[in-house]
């Protein structure tokens, strides 16, 4: 019983440490070049955007409001 409890404690601690480790990665200001790439733009495919817009309009009876500022480095 004691061994299983110890094992469970060890596993819980290891999981917490590993999970916490994932949260410590920060994108630095100089690493944000990738975020400004064209492929990061949600509206890079006009056809897909038009189709999604049509679906949105048909199903939800609403349109517009989907546009965002595109990609960016979040510089300012």
């Amino acid at each position: 019983m004691k061994t299983s409890r110890l094992l469970f404690t060890g596993l819980a601690l290891a999981a917490a440490l590993l999970g916490g480790g994932c949260a410590t990665q920060t994108v630095q200001a100089w690493q944000r070049g990738s975020l400004t790439d064209y492929t990061m733009r949600p509206d890079r495919d006009p056809l897909a955007t038009a189709m999604a817009e049509h679906t949105w309009f048909s199903r939800e009876a609403s349109a517009g409001g989907r546009g965002v500022g595109g990609s960016g480095c979040g510089c300012n």
Binding site: L13, A16, G19, G20, T24, T36, N76
Partner: protein
């Protein structure tokens, strides 16, 4: 099972707190600190002579819109302050050499520009934003840090910081 989990939650909490302590603390440029030496950091390009001069170090990138906006202002600062003992050095953090070259071709800066391709020097300085401009005194210590570029406001503040650094007697 629930009671077992209850007895373990202090351990989970302790683990999370420990993990929080492991968060890397990034060095940020502080006023009064020495500017890290750039020798041996892999900067590509001709490094300007800085001995006995006030230094304006600008970290920029071709993908950063405010950086492009700041270049005409920096060119004006270079024109006005270079004869008075200020050296302007712009350090690009571009990994892509073509983007770097295209930016330089477009803006043709009159000041020294180098590329920190490995992003080693910028990490050593730990700039908080792009662009970040540092005013460094004749003693090699940082006098002012300007994160971001906010148009005329930043330009005026930069000029004031340079005037103050030039007025210092060392």
């Amino acid at each position: 099972m629930l009671s077992r989990l209850k007895s373990f939650h202090p351990f989970l909490l302790a683990g999370l707190v420990l993990a929080g302590c492991a968060c890397p603390v990034l060095a940020q440029p502080g006023v009064g600190e020495s500017l890290p030496a750039w020798a041996g950091r892999g900067l590509e390009g001709a490094l300007p002579e800085t001995g006995g001069r006030v230094l304006l170090v600008d970290f920029w990138a071709s993908w950063c819109a405010p950086c492009a906006e700041s270049f005409p202002d920096l060119a004006g600062i270079h024109r006005d302050f270079s004869p008075r003992g200020v050296t302007l050095m712009a350090i690009s953090v571009d990994k892509e050499p073509r983007a770097y070259a295209a930016f330089l071709k477009k803006f043709a800066p009159p000041f020294a520009t180098v590329r920190d391709a490995r992003q080693e020097y910028v990490a050593a300085v730990g700039v908080p934003a792009m662009p970040t401009t540092l005013v460094v005194g004749r003693d090699g210590k940082i006098r002012a840090v300007f994160p971001g570029y906010h148009g005329e406001k930043t330009g005026t503040a930069l000029r004031a910081a340079l005037e103050a650094a030039l007025a210092e007697k060392i």
